[in-house]
C-alpha cells in the first residue's frame, strides 16, 4: 500500500520524495507551500497558480533543538531548522539527528507517523548529507 503524506498537496511519496509548491503564471514567483487562494506577489487568483515540483534538497540557515514544547508531539527533544531549498524557497522543518549545524547540506527523508486519528501517514523531514 502506498504510504500517504500528512498533507498530500505538499508532497509526492516518490524515491527521492518531491515537494510540491506553486509557480504563478502571471509573475513567475515560485512559492512553498502552495497557496490555495492567490499570489502574494502580484495578486493573481489561485486559478493562475500551477503546481511546481521542488527538489527536497537545501542547506541549513538556522537550527534550534527544542527542549520544551506546547504540544505532545513531536516528543522533545527534537531539532528544527530553517532550510533554504536549492530551488529558492526557504522553509522550516524538522531536521533529523543531533549534530546539525548552520551551513549543513540536507536532503528530504520520509518519516512514518500518525495523523490525529491514529492512521499511519508520512511526514517530510530533512537529514544532514554526510
Amino acid at each position: 500500500m502506498t504510504r500517504q503524506p500528512r498533507h498530500p498537496q505538499l508532497l509526492k511519496v516518490t524515491d527521492p520524495p518531491v515537494m510540491v509548491g506553486h509557480r504563478c503564471t502571471s509573475c513567475l514567483r515560485i512559492a512553498f507551500p502552495p497557496d490555495p487562494y492567490g499570489c502574494e506577489q502580484c495578486g493573481a487568483s489561485a486559478t493562475e497558480l500551477e503546481e511546481f515540483e521542488l527538489e527536497a534538497k537545501g542547506s541549513v540557515r538556522a537550527v534550534a533543538t527544542v527542549h520544551r514544547h506546547h504540544h505532545l508531539t513531536p516528543a522533545t527533544p527534537f531539532t528544527v531548522g530553517v532550510v533554504e531549498l536549492v530551488g529558492g524557497p526557504v522553509l522550516k522543518a524538522i531536521v533529523e539527528g543531533e549534530a546539525v549545524a548552520v551551513g549543513d547540506s540536507v536532503t528530504g527523508v520520509l518519516v512514518d507517523g500518525e495523523d490525529h486519528e491514529g492512521n499511519p501517514i508520512v511526514d517530510l523531514h530533512f537529514r544532514v548529507v554526510t
Binding site: P33, P36, E40, V63, A64, T65, V102, L124
Partner: protein
C-alpha cells in the same frame, strides 16, 4: 489625508496613565483589572469619566464584547466603545485608534485600554487559514525566535551569553517596576539555565499573565477645557501601523517589518534614531532586542550585542531599552502590553519613573510586533 498631517495639524497628547500590575493568572476578573487601570489613569489626568468621549479596548483573549460590561461600572455614559484585536499589538492598536479619533477632530478626550487574562493557547487565526506547511505544530513562537537567534548568532559571531545579557538587563529593570510580573534581579547563570528552545532559556522568554493598562489622550482643546496640567502632557508625534510585506526569501520578517515601520514613524515624527532616549521594544524573547535595535537604526547591523554588553542600552546609557523591564520582565499579558509601553514612555518623559528614570529623557518610542505579522510604532515627546 495621512496620519502625518492629522497628528501635526491637530496634536494629540497623553494626559493620563494608569496600570493594574501584570501578574500570573488569578481569580480577579478582567472587569476588576480593567477598571483599576482606568480609574488610575483618570486620577493621573485629573479628568472625570464623564469627560471621556470614546473608548478603545485592546484585547485578544477575552472574547466578544468586553468593553461595556467593564467600563459601564465607571458610569454608563453611553459613549462609543470598541474592542481592538491585533494579536500582541492589540493594545498598541487601541492607542493608535484613540490618537486617530482625537487627531481627526471627532473627539477631544479618548481612552485607550488594554486588558486580558490568559487562556489555553492563543487561538491564532493564521493556523486556521487552510494553508498547510511542513512544520506542522513543531514551530511555536519561542522556537520561531530561537531560529532567528541561531541565524543572528551565526551571522555576527555572537554568543549565547551575549544574547542572555539582554535578559540580565531587562530583569534588572523589572526589579525596579512595581507593575512588573517579574521583579527579581537575576544572575547570568540563572538566565542561562533551563533551556527552552535553541539558545533561549525560560528567563529569556516573556511570561504571559494578566493585567491592564490605560492611557487617556486629548487634544489641545480638551486640555484647555478640562484644565489638565500641561506640564505633564506628552505629545504623540507619530503613530504608524504596517503589516508584513513580501520580503526576500529567508529574511527575518519581524526585523524587516520593524525597519520599515520604524522608518515611517521617524519620518512622521521628524526625529531620527539618535534622538530616542527611551525605547520600549517588543522583547518577548531576548534575541528580539538585538534584532530591533539594529532594524530601527539605533546601532549598526551586528553591533547590538556589544552595545548591550557595554551598558549603552541600560538606564543611564545613550538610550534606555525597555526600562520597564520590557516584555521579558514586566510581562506580556497581550492586550495590555502595548498600552503599558506607552504608559512607561510617558512616565519616563515626564521624569516620574523614580529609580528606573532615564536621565534627561525627552523623546521616546514604543514598538510592538504581533502574529500576522503586524507592527505598530509610536513616537512621543515631552
Amino acid at each position: 489625508m495621512s496620519d502625518r498631517s492629522l497628528l501635526s495639524d491637530r496634536p494629540v497628547f497623553v494626559v493620563g496613565i494608569g496600570m493594574h500590575p501584570y501578574q500570573r493568572r488569578s481569580d480577579i476578573t478582567y472587569v476588576e483589572l480593567g477598571i483599576t487601570a482606568v480609574r488610575a489613569a483618570l486620577v493621573d489626568a485629573a479628568v472625570t469619566w464623564t469627560e471621556v468621549e470614546a473608548a478603545y479596548t485592546g484585547t485578544a483573549l477575552l472574547g466578544m464584547g468586553s468593553s461595556r460590561v467593564m467600563l459601564s461600572r465607571l458610569g454608563a455614559t453611553g459613549i462609543p466603545m470598541t474592542q481592538v484585536e491585533n494579536a500582541s499589538a492589540s493594545g498598541s492598536s487601541a492607542v493608535a485608534q484613540a490618537c486617530l479619533e482625537v487627531a481627526s477632530g471627532r473627539s477631544d478626550v479618548v481612552l485607550a485600554l488594554g486588558v486580558d487574562k490568559p487562556r489555553g493557547g492563543l487561538g491564532a487565526a493564521p493556523a486556521q487559514a487552510g494553508i498547510p506547511n511542513l512544520e506542522g505544530g513543531s514551530i511555536v513562537p519561542f522556537t520561531h525566535f530561537a531560529l532567528l537567534a541561531s541565524e543572528y548568532m551565526d551571522l555576527h559571531g555572537v554568543s549565547d551569553e551575549q544574547v542572555a545579557r539582554v535578559a540580565l538587563k531587562n530583569h534588572r529593570n523589572g526589579s525596579l517596576n512595581p507593575f512588573a510580573q517579574r521583579q527579581k534581579v537575576r544572575t547570568l547563570d540563572e538566565i542561562l539555565s533551563e533551556p527552552i528552545s535553541g539558545s533561549l532559556t525560560r528567563l529569556q522568554c516573556c511570561p504571559v499573565g494578566e493585567g491592564a493598562a490605560a492611557v487617556i489622550v486629548a487634544s489641545e482643546d480638551g486640555i484647555n477645557r478640562l484644565n489638565v496640567d500641561r506640564s505633564r502632557a506628552v505629545q504623540v508625534l507619530s503613530s504608524v501601523t504596517r503589516t508584513e510585506g513580501l520580503y526576500e526569501e529567508g529574511v527575518g520578517i519581524d526585523a524587516a517589518l520593524t525597519a520599515e515601520t520604524g522608518m515611517a514613524a521617524f519620518e512622521e515624527a521628524d526625529v531620527g534614531p539618535s534622538d530616542i532616549d527611551v525605547l520600549e521594544v517588543h522583547d518577548a524573547f531576548a534575541i528580539e532586542e538585538l534584532l530591533y535595535a539594529e532594524a530601527l537604526g539605533l546601532c549598526q547591523p551586528g553591533e547590538a550585542a556589544a552595545r548591550v554588553e557595554s551598558g549603552d542600552f541600560d538606564i543611564g546609557g545613550s538610550c534606555a531599552f525597555s526600562p520597564s523591564g520590557g516584555l521579558l520582565a514586566m510581562g506580556h499579558p497581550i492586550g495590555p502590553t502595548g498600552v503599558g509601553q506607552i504608559a512607561e514612555v510617558v512616565r519616563q518623559l515626564r521624569g516620574e519613573a523614580g529609580d528606573r528614570q532615564q536621565p534627561e529623557a525627552r523623546v521616546g518610542m514604543a514598538h510592538m510586533v504581533g502574529i500576522g505579522a503586524v507592527c505598530v510604532v509610536h513616537v512621543l515627546r515631552r
